[in-house]
């Protein structure tokens, strides 16, 4: 066991897989020499050399296209898109090519690759560097979509993603990079498609992802002081989606709250709400409540940004008020 930052967990997770499998390589802008703009890949160049840890031009389409072509022909690329907002400049390669190749070729083509990206708000970076776009990816058939909230999960889900035969979009949360957590020694391998009940409770289920998980946990502590026992689920993997764990919890608590950083409309909570409101219709004691960033681009000024992304206070307040 050692304490590790989420940032360092990224590098450790990648190193674990690169050591195990020489087909794995890392490619992206400033990932090698500089160790990444978030310093999440520090040390990998020294350990694996410039042929396996590769700096690129600012050519996101070329980066992901290369990753795809390499994956199709026997390698296991990990590509970085520096900020998830930049998926918009290479979305074609992701959604039209990577996601659809297997299907269009009726299974002839494998595209086993991982695209990592720094996602989410809270760093006062403004509207073009703060988006949470996991919902964009979730909407595309053929992709898998993962977003860890702890250093241990970073490593375990990274390993699962690299070993998966399908393309995985791996969303790292940029304001979690500095968070620390206990991490076991040795190899860590997790599983895609498994949500985690990170706090047991009986009165309400709170489903959260990435940076919303620690906030939901803290809100649950405060709710406990109010006499409300909240169960908190870390979704971890949007595709495959572990609806069994979510529905199981709602069957017990009869109330669901989703907490998401996505702007409101068609945030991932909409899908979970629509599933639960359908399949747990007779279980629910109250409407599913979605706690989201409002449907706005993110502002840069600190007080404005803090007021828009769901905070511990807001989660606590919204759950509490609706349970009164």
């Amino acid at each position: 066991m050692a304490e590790l930052s989420y940032r360092d967990a990224v590098a450790r997770g990648i190193a674990q897989e690169m050591e195990r499998d020489e087909r794995v390589f890392l490619i992206g802008e400033d990932v090698a020499g500089a160790g990444g703009v978030f310093k999440a890949t520090v040390g990998l160049l020294d350990q694996f050399g410039p042929g396996r840890v590769v700096d690129t031009p600012i050519s996101e389409q070329a980066i992901l296209g290369a990753a795809m072509g390499a994956a199709m022909t026997g390698l296991r690329p990990i590509a970085e898109i520096m900020f998830s907002d930049f998926f918009a400049v290479c979305w074609d390669i992701v959604v039209n090519e990577i996601a659809k190749a297997r299907y269009m070729t009726d299974g002839q083509v494998d595209v086993p690759l991982v695209i990592r990206s720094a996602n989410g708000g809270g760093a006062r970076f403004g509207a073009q560097h703060s988006q949470s776009v996991e919902n964009w990816a979730m909407a595309i058939p053929g992709l898998k979509v993962v977003a860890p909230s702890t250093p241990e999960d970073v490593i375990g889900l990274m390993a699962a993603s690299v070993r998966d035969e399908d393309p995985v979009l791996f969303f790292e949360h940029k304001t979690l990079y500095s968070h620390k957590g206990e991490v076991p020694d040795g190899e860590i391998v997790d599983e895609l498609g498994k949500a985690k009940v990170v706090r047991k409770g009986t009165d309400a289920t709170i489903v959260a992802l990435a940076m919303m998980v620690p906030r939901a946990l803290e809100a649950a502590e405060r709710l406990a002081e109010d006499g409300i026992s909240a169960e908190v689920i870390d979704v971890r993997s949007l595709i495959p989606l572990d609806t069994a764990t979510i529905l199981g919890s709602v069957a017990k608590t009869s109330r669901l709250y989703t907490v998401e950083e996505n702007p409101r409309v068609l945030g991932w909570g909409a899908e979970i709400a629509s599933i639960v409101a359908d399949e747990a219709f007779w279980d629910l004691d109250a409407p599913v409540r979605r706690i989201t960033t409002p449907h706005i681009p993110l502002p840069s000024s600190a007080p404005l940004e803090d007021d828009t992304i769901p905070s511990v206070e807001r989660i606590h307040r919204e759950v509490k008020e609706s349970m009164d």
Partner: protein
């Protein structure tokens, strides 16, 4: 207000015709084995006859969706297909029937796919624009302009990484040179010195617009080569021998670690952009001149000059025709895919499950 902003001063379709170069007589003496030449003749015939048959089937309502024929352009795919090694990689566009056949993919699977049958090489899921046969090194046909140039880089990357001497070839049109992915792919290939060959099949038109009307330079690929430190290469795309020589040179260079090439192959399509287009935006003089310079006719004449007798060539054509007919019958007799097929191969476990 003014009259707005326009690209050109002439009326639509009234641009100056661009005429083909005359056949280079020196090519008769090119060091290409007779059997290679006969194979290229056969392959061009194969592509030609398949495309014509597909057109007929389309008129019969048996080929649905869209399709983009390669009629008139057969020499380029043929020459590359012939120059490549079986383990090399091809990346083509929606106009990729010829490139697929040129890698040795059997006609039956191609016709099956075009007719949407379960015998199709993609089980009826991909269709005309996505022909792929991994076992033949045909790594796919891509229908969104530009993307596959970047993907071809990845296959070349992989070959270099794995230490094989495979090469990757990406075919694309003149219109494609104006999209961003073209630029990213070219720079990227040069930076990593990848064994990849970019082949621009310049047929003078993007869909219905003359390439010269919407491009800053006259030769859309060759005039950009220097922007990537690459050699300026233009080849007569209606002469299989010309393309074969250039293809062999580029392949050899890439295989030997000499990095990427960009080749502009000048050619012309016989018909419109896709099945629905009569191609009326092209000056008649231009059409006539290029029809005259048809690659198969050109090649036919060369082979006669080189002493092949007419009968041999007729024999090849007849044999191809027979195989085409067989393949069509096979496709027609094949069942439609079962409806479950829609739900397979979304994910690597073979299915479409995204939740438990």
């Amino acid at each position: 207000m003014t009259n707005g902003v326009r690209a050109v001063d002439h009326e639509y379709g009234e641009h100056d015709p661009i005429l083909p170069a005359p056949v280079d007589p020196a090519l008769d003496q090119a060091p290409i084995a007779q059997e290679t030449r006969l194979a290229m003749y056969q392959l061009q015939e194969e592509i030609r006859q398949v495309e014509k048959e597909l057109h007929r089937l389309f008129l019969e309502g048996l080929v649905q969706g869209t399709s983009h024929l390669y009629l008139g352009m057969e020499a380029t795919a043929t020459a590359f297909g012939t120059a490549l090694r079986p383990d090399d990689y091809t990346f083509a566009t929606y106009r990729g029937h010829g490139h697929t056949l040129a890698r040795g993919v059997p006609m039956k699977g191609v016709f099956g796919e075009m007719l949407g049958r379960s015998s199709g090489i993609l089980g009826g899921k991909g269709g005309s624009m996505h022909l792929t046969s991994v076992e033949h090194g045909m790594l796919g046909s891509y229908a969104i302009i530009g993307a596959h140039l970047t993907i071809a880089n990845g296959a070349a990357w992989s070959a270099k990484y794995r230490g094989t001497d495979q090469v990757a070839v990406a075919f694309f049109g003149d219109g494609t040179t104006n999209i961003g992915a073209f630029h990213e792919a070219l720079n990227f290939a040069v930076v990593y010195d990848l064994p990849v060959i970019f082949v621009c099949e310049n047929n003078l038109y993007m869909e219905y617009t003359a390439i010269g009307d919407i491009t800053a330079v006259p030769n859309p690929a060759a005039d950009r080569a220097a922007a990537y430190g690459l050699e300026r290469i233009i080849v007569d795309g209606n002469d299989a021998d010309a393309v074969y020589l250039e293809a062999s040179r580029a392949i050899e260079k890439a295989r030997a670690g000499g990095g990427p090439s960009l080749i502009e192959s000048l050619t012309y399509r016989h018909g419109g952009h896709s099945r629905a287009d009569p191609g009326k935006y092209r000056p008649q003089e231009e059409i006539d001149a290029w029809m005259e310079r048809d690659p198969i006719a050109t090649y036919h004449q060369r082979l006669l000059r080189l002493g092949v007798d007419e009968g041999t060539l007729t024999g090849i054509s007849t044999d191809v025709a027979r195989r085409v007919e067989e393949a069509v019958e096979h496709a027609k007799a094949s069942p439609r895919p079962s409806l479950e097929a829609s739900h397979t191969n979304v994910y690597a476990d073979g299915g479409a499950r995204w939740r438990n």
